[in-house]
Amino acid sequence: MREATPVIEVRDLYNTFGKQVVHAGVSFIVKPSEIFAIVGGSGTGKTTLLRTCLMLQRPTRGSVSVLGVDVLRCRGAEAQALRGRWGVLFQSGALFSSLSVLDNITFALIELNGMPSFRAEAIARLKLSLVGLSKETADKQPAELSGGMKKRVALARALALDPELIFLDEPTSGLDPKSAYELDRLILELRAHLGVTFVIITHDVQTLWRVPDRICFLGESRVLACSPMQELLANKHPLIVEYFEATGGYRVQKQEGSAS
């Protein structure tokens, strides 16, 4: 079996910008092959948390380790190796606008991994098919794609290196319900086949029901709850109740309940 060390371990994280306190003692762990969702209202520091894990931003204090590597201390070759083991889907896709879809996906394979281009292209086409895009998409430019297609291409790019850990920042926002459902299925499938660990930031209650094993609720600058959806909805903390009343989380629960 795989090692029991957590994939992500965040301990006592503090983030302050001037007078604004974003995180005050955030701690959680993500287990191997787990699908871990992070939710919370706007401005509760979900994206800041993600950026801290990705070494894009240094926290005020605290410790963060990803895939067994201390991201606050590591640099050079170690940091580079770590970056090859995760994939990231940014909220807006962040596709390289001057490269074609295929080149976006092969970029890391060819430029950073030295893979011959015939193989990189074959892998890229496979990944495009995996995220449900047709062959014709490969030669398009990002500007020609719809919002949902951009997201899928970005996901295919995040999958390019077969990462052990994938961060998804609002993967289903801007997708139609059917595409969102397919994307959720894909996440579950990838976890089942490849044992990939996922960290998902989302506001999509449907996704929250379908996909994650555990949900971490951020509020009041800390983790208010970290549990499966069922337990989270039973939590009577006012912020959590408010959030799920507003997003219709309780209603969806009823539908799911009647369907099963």
Partner: protein, 378 residues
């Protein structure tokens, strides 16, 4: 997947003819596939036989490895072999099934066509003509908006105009002063060598004055502002276009040309003549300093002579050109900005084009004015 970075042994295939096994070893994962050939040519036998791909000794297996294995098997089948596969782990088999469901044959490589010299020239001419036409269309559009604007003058974007005057004018003062001073100095130096051989030292005043006032003041200013500001206009409007901000303005009923282009045109119409005069002062100052150093003409004598020989007409002849330069700089900058397509390369390309085209047009216009002046004997 555990300990993935601990070993990255390259994926290999060895053919064992006596058992009919293609033994796969090493890491069949994204990090281990660099060296492996595209197909089994040269490794697997030529004559049709039964090949079993033996995967017991594979260390790591991911979608990249599964895909590579699938393509090897496809290729072997196409060459008439009977192919079978033994995967030691059920999750690998699941992975293989997933890949098989999505994989496709290698696409045909696109053939890159040779382009003849004539085609290159033809295309270049076509593109230039199109650009010129589009630029004139843009000029027309701006003119129409200019006329339409008088009907709602209260909506005019005064503030953004003033900002442009500050950025393009006020902030350029020190740069233009320094460069004009240096150019004045250099020109006066070249002339002083010639003049002193004829003992015609005092004519340095006439020459420096005429050159700076009629030509170099306006011209140098226009070139500097074109490089500084026309590119800034392009980058600003181009980025707005990529962010769909232009569309946002349009849907609010605010004409992008009225909000973004006209204030820039007016701002440069005001700032550029002022900058030209500023540049002329420093250019002549540079000449004056050199005349004092090299030709021993005192500042007093220089200024007295300047007043005598340089008529006000010379200043005006120089300044007449400046509004044209201002319009060229602002229009080309904005035009290239609107021509930006939604990708990062395009912003860079258009910004370069903006500097090249505005400087090109400034030189053409300046030459045109020289011809016109010579017709009228000025």
């Amino acid at each position: 997947m555990q300990g993935r970075n601990a070993y990255r042994i390259s994926a290999t295939v060895q053919w064992e003819p006596e058992r009919g096994l293609a033994v796969c070893t090493g890491s069949w994962a994204v990090h281990g596939l660099k060296m492996l050939a595209e197909t089994g040519e040269g490794i697997l036998p030529r004559e049709p036989t039964h090949i079993q791909f033996d995967c017991k000794h594979i260390d790591q297996f991911d979608t990249a490895g599964a895909l590579t294995l699938w393509r090897w098997m496809q290729d072997a089948e196409r060459k008439g072999h009977r192919v079978s596969l033994a995967l030691p782990k059920p999750e690998w088999q699941a992975l293989m099934d997933l890949v098989t469901a999505h994989a496709e044959e290698a696409p045909k490589r696109k053939v890159v066509r040779d382009i003849s010299l004539w085609e290159t020239i033809g295309r270049a001419v076509y593109v230039r003509t199109q650009t010129a036409q589009a630029l004139f269309t843009f000029l027309g559009l701006v003119s129409v908006k200019l006329v339409a604007m008088w009907q709602h003058i209260h909506r005019w974007a005064w503030k953004s105009g003033l900002r442009v005057i500050e950025d393009a004018g006020y902030h350029a003062l020190s740069l233009i002063a320094l460069l004009s001073f240096l150019v004045g100095l250099v020109i006066a130096y070249q002339m002083s060598i010639q003049l002193s051989t004829y003992g015609a030292n005092i004519y340095i005043v006439d020459l420096t004055g005429l050159i700076m006032l009629r030509e170099f003041g306006p011209f140098l200013t226009a070139i500097i502002v074109a490089a500084r500001t026309s590119t800034a206009f392009t980058a600003q409007i181009g980025t707005m276009k990529v962010n769909e901000e232009i569309d946002a303005l349009e849907t609010m009923g605010a004409s992008p040309i009225e909000r973004l282009v006209l204030p820039k045109v007016f701002a440069l119409l005001i700032a550029l003549p002022l900058l030209s005069v500023w540049s002329e002062v420093f250019g002549v100052g540079g000449g004056m300093l050199l005349a004092n150093w090299d030709l021993h003409i005192s500042y007093g004598v220089f200024l007295q002579r300047f007043q005598q020989v340089i008529e006000l007409k010379q200043l005006i002849l120089g300044l007449i050109k400046v509004p044209f330069f201002a319009v060229i700089i602002s229009l080309v900058g904005c035009f290239q900005g609107f021509a930006v397509a939604s990708n990062a390369d395009s912003v860079g390309y258009r910004t370069t084009q903006s500097a090249v085209q505005s400087i090109f047009l400034i030189i053409i216009t300046d030459a045109f004015f020289s011809i016109v002046y010579s017709w009228y004997g000025e």
